[in-house]
Every structure is written in C-alpha cells, then in structure tokens.
Amino acid sequence: MTVDFPKVPHTTKIRNVRKNRQSAITTFFLNLMRSWTGIIGFIIILILLLISIFGQWIVPFDPLLADFSKKLLPPMTGGHLLGTDQLGRDIFSRIIMGAKISVIIGLSTVLIAGTFGTIVGIISGYFRGWVDVVLMRIVDVQLSFPFILLVLVINAIIGSGLRNIIISLAIGGWVIFARVIRSEVLALREQEFITACVATGVSKFGILFKHILPNLFTPIIILSSLQIGTYIIAEASVSFLGFGVQPPEPAWGNMLNEGKDYIFSSWWLITFPGIAIMITALGVNLFGDWLRDTLDTELKGE
C-alpha cells in the first residue's frame, strides 16, 4: 500500500524568503532602542570593553609607578585627574587598568563556571537517575553556604592572585548555572515538542543536541550576563579583604583596601574605585535585565 506523494516538478525553484526578515543584529538594536536602561547598560559595557582593551595606551601615567613626592595629591592637581594614592600613583590610570582586571575576571569566571555548570545541569536534567541525585545533592550542599564566604575560604586556602581568584569564583559560581540549567532542561523535556521528536524517532542524542541545546542558549546568555556583575563585585570584595588580586596590581578592590586607612584624610582614595565598581555593576545589571526582558518575551512569542 505505497502511495506516492504527488510529484513536484523539478523546475520549482526554492525561493529563500529570508530577504524580508530582519537580521539578528538589526533586531538586537531595534529592541535596544526601545529601552533607555538597555541603552545605558550597553554603552557602559561598550566603554568598559574599550578601555580594558586599549587602556594601556590611553593612561596618562604609569599606574604602577610610585612617586612619594606626589603622594596623596587631591583630584585635579598636578595633572592627576582623580588625584594620587599613598604611594603617589595616579588614581585615574590605576582605575583604567583596574577595568581590565575586572573584565578579565568577570568574563573568564563566567566562561569557566558557566561551561562547567551548564554541562552538569544538562547531564543532571537530561539523564536523571542516580547521577542527578548525586550532582544535585552536591549543588544543594554548596548552595547552603554563602557564596562570598565560600569564595573567601577557597581563595584563602589556595592562595591569592588573578588566576586563583578566578578559580575560587568559578568554584563558588558553577552551582547557580547547574541549578538553573537543570531546571530549564527538565522543563524542556516535558515540552510537547520534545515528545513530538521522540514520536518522530529522533535519537536521544539528537534530541539533546538539536532540540534541547538550542533552547538553552537564551537562559545561558541571560544568566551569564546577570552573573558577571555578581562576580565583579565578589572579586572586589575579596580583594578588599586582602585576598584575591594582590598589590601592586591595580584591582579596584585592593585599591579600596589600601585607601581605607586614609579615609579620614584623603577621601578620593576610597571614592573613585568604588564608583568604578558601581558603574560597572550597574551597566552589566542593566544590560542583563534588558536582555532577560527582551529574550523572555521573544521566547513567549508575541
């Protein structure tokens, strides 16, 4: 009982109707234009990225060069826009260089924690069984310990430095990804379109890679963008407490740590690095919120 499909003449050209669709980038900017906060966040991030890439060429002074004759100069004196610190180093230059450290830490932590957490989340959520039970118990245990404290303890044990603070943050941060991605996978698994794939005869791995993974892209992007801000603030806190990035590296956190002893005499030491952290976190958060709002509505359709 084979009934053939009606023949379609071979001359039929397959038209591509993509022409009248917006490209992804155009859509991105059109959506961005609708939100003030999104634009602000985007601009802050853009500036941050630019100065962390080109910072070393635009700094007016060597950020590491100490000059005791110029120590604790207030802002706008001697060509020092934001003044100098207790060793006579230019604060403006140090903040610019600090941006690079924050960006490196934020991005690499999100990359490591995100990748690891996502993998765990997918394994846990898709294959379930005892693997899921074990992994989620671990996540539960870790989540039952304050993030910042965990990072501090780990960092104190494994030692300071840029690499180690990234490792500490990643160890502290992967669980959020694992938790969120797992619940996304669980929700996706129950979706009718996944059942439809099983009914079609798509293999388990086909379903995972072709149907579940692409649908995880959005939650991963949203979560990552929101986590970067957390990581940057956490790093600053850890460095402020004397762990993390060590002097003389100009991280915003340890600048505040060094400056806090001069709080009664020289306000600028603690003011500007803090503002830098705040603006960065603000930009990342605003952008992340905007991303979540637009992508979420996109997910839901119209």
Binding site: V141, S144, F145, F147, I148, I158, I233, K260, I270, L282
Partner: protein, 305 residues
C-alpha cells in the same frame, strides 16, 4: 508534615557534615598541612614534631575520621595562635553577628515590603520610577564601599557616629544600614515584581469583580499571595546576608564570627576556620529549615496535605 520536618532535619545534618568534609579536604589538599599550621620560620624538627603531634603522618582517611568524630562532639581543636578552644571561641562571637544580621534583616524587610507594594500599586508613577531606579542602583553598590562612604560622612566628616567597634546601639547603626542596603534593593524589587505578577492573576480579577476596593485588593489579598515567593527569596538570600555580614564586620571592626573568620583565614588559623565554617553552615541550614516550615504555613496547598 512530620516526615517533611524529619526529612529536612536529616538534610540539615548532611549539609553540615558535607561542608565540613569539603573544607577539611581542601585544607589538606592545598599543601603540607603542617606548614600551614606553623609560622613560616619554624625549624625542621619543629615541623616533624608538630606533624606527629597533630597526627598528620597517619593516612588521610584516619585523620578525616578522627576529625569528623571530634567535630561532631564539638571539638575542633585549639586556636593555633591563642590556644583557645576553637568552637567556644566562635560561639562567643555569635551573638554579635546575630545582632547585626537580624537587625539588618528586620530593617530591610520593614523598608522593602511597603516600598515594593506601594511601587506596584502605583506602577509607572514618579514614585515607582524613583524607587525602581534606587533599587537598581542599590544592587550595584558593593556593600563594603557603602560602608566606607558612610564612615567617611558620618564618622570622618560629621563626626556623629563611631567608625567601628561595638558596645552601644550607636555602634550598630552604620553596620546595620550597610548590611541592609543590598537586601532592601533586592527585596523591594522582588516584592514589586511579585505583586505585579499576582495582580495580573485571574483570582484578583475575581475579587475585583466582587467589588473589592483596590487598596484592600493590594494590601489584603495580593500581599498574602506574594508572601510565599517573598519568604522563599528572603530565605535564599539569608546566605548573601550572612556573607555580607562577614565583610561588614571587617569594615566596621564588629566583633562577630565573620571578623574572627577573616582574621583566622589571614593567620591561617585553621581550627577556627573549620569551627567557623561549621557554625555558618549550621546556621544557614537551620534558617532554610525554618523558612521551609514557614512556607508550608503560608501556603495552604502544602499545609492541608
């Protein structure tokens, strides 16, 4: 309900034991433990002697077993510096931390819930916009920096509040505000969005259709529905609050567990670190446990079962 409580209690125990295990192995795996326990200028003989004394020459699983057996009995050894017993030392600092954390929590809830409700009720008004802007800003300000700025203004400039230390209620004001700031921002924002969600629900429309005035709708009805997710968030955030307490304690020289833990980490005084981790994990697990029960109380769908 009873087996729910028992189940959660078992979970608390597991969490605490696992937290200890992880920190124990992290410390052991991060290098020669004896070196960590002794000042860097110790002689070779001293190290060997110490190693034997602390039993580090034995296989690690025996050390682990012994540590856990002792830990369960509350014995974490002595501080390497002051030679005080570790756990009692940590416990003696606990009231100060509680004082700070609880006052900050109460302060933030007192501000955040009314603010969030009002913001949702007057959505898109000037008041709402300002409150949203402040919450966004509040979440971006690192708490230790806020602490420094407060010290600068109120201690250094105005000289009306102490910059650190403990003792009287005035000492509490700045640390409490510092610690509460982030939570205020987060809770306000969450209360607002939860309220907005609830106000869109079918059952709110039903109440409206029975002639309930908006004020009562928001204050009496929607608020109770919103409490369930708010309690969940507050419980989850207590960890952040405790973590923030550590930093705040350091900034304001507040004599709590956090400051002790920080000093011990600096000094590599690991018995105290372990005792501190034990206490923090225990507190956090217990808080979550209480939150779960509270949650069941507010949510009749769980309670009635």
């Amino acid at each position: 309900m009873l087996d729910f409580i028992i189940k959660r209690l078992i979970q608390v125990v597991v969490v605490v034991l696992l937290a200890l295990t992880v920190v124990f192995f992290l410390i052991r795996l991060s290098g020669d433990p004896t070196a960590l326990f002794l000042p860097p200028d110790a002689s070779r003989e001293q190290i060997e002697e110490y190693r034997e004394m602390l039993g580090f020459d034995r296989p690690i699983y025996i050390q682990y077993g012994e540590f856990m057996v002792n830990a369960v009995q509350g014995d974490f050894g002595q501080s390497l510096r002051s030679k005080e017993d570790a756990l009692p030392l940590v416990l003696s600092r606990l009231p100060a931390t509680f004082q700070l954390a609880i006052s900050a929590l109460i302060l933030s809830l007192l501000i955040a819930i009314p603010l969030g409700v009002l913001s949702a009720y007057k959505r898109n008004s000037v008041f709402d916009r300002i409150s949203v802007a402040l919450t966004v800003l509040g979440q971006a300000v690192p708490s230790f920096w806020l602490g420094l700025i407060l010290i600068y203004f109120f201690a250094a400039q105005l000289n009306i509040l102490p910059s650190g230390g403990a003792g009287s209620i005035v000492h509490l004001i700045l640390p409490m505000i510092t610690l509460a700031a982030y939570s205020v921002a987060r809770f306000t924002r969450f209360t607002r969005s939860t309220m907005l969600d609830v106000l869109r629900k079918d059952y709110i429309r039903t109440a409206k259709a029975s002639g309930v005035p908006t004020i009562r709708l928001v204050g009496r009805y929607a608020l109770k529905n919103s409490l369930i997710p708010i309690i969940t968030l507050v419980a989850l955030d207590l960890g952040t609050l405790l973590g923030g307490a550590v930093i705040t304690e350091v900034v304001f020289a507040w004599p709590g567990v956090g400051r002790l833990l920080m000093q011990s980490l600096m000094n590599r005084d690991f018995p105290i670190v372990l005792a501190g981790v034990f206490i923090v994990a225990l507190i956090y697990a217990v808080i979550n446990f209480i939150a779960d029960i509270l949650y069941a109380y507010v949510n009749p769908q769980i309670r009635v079962k």
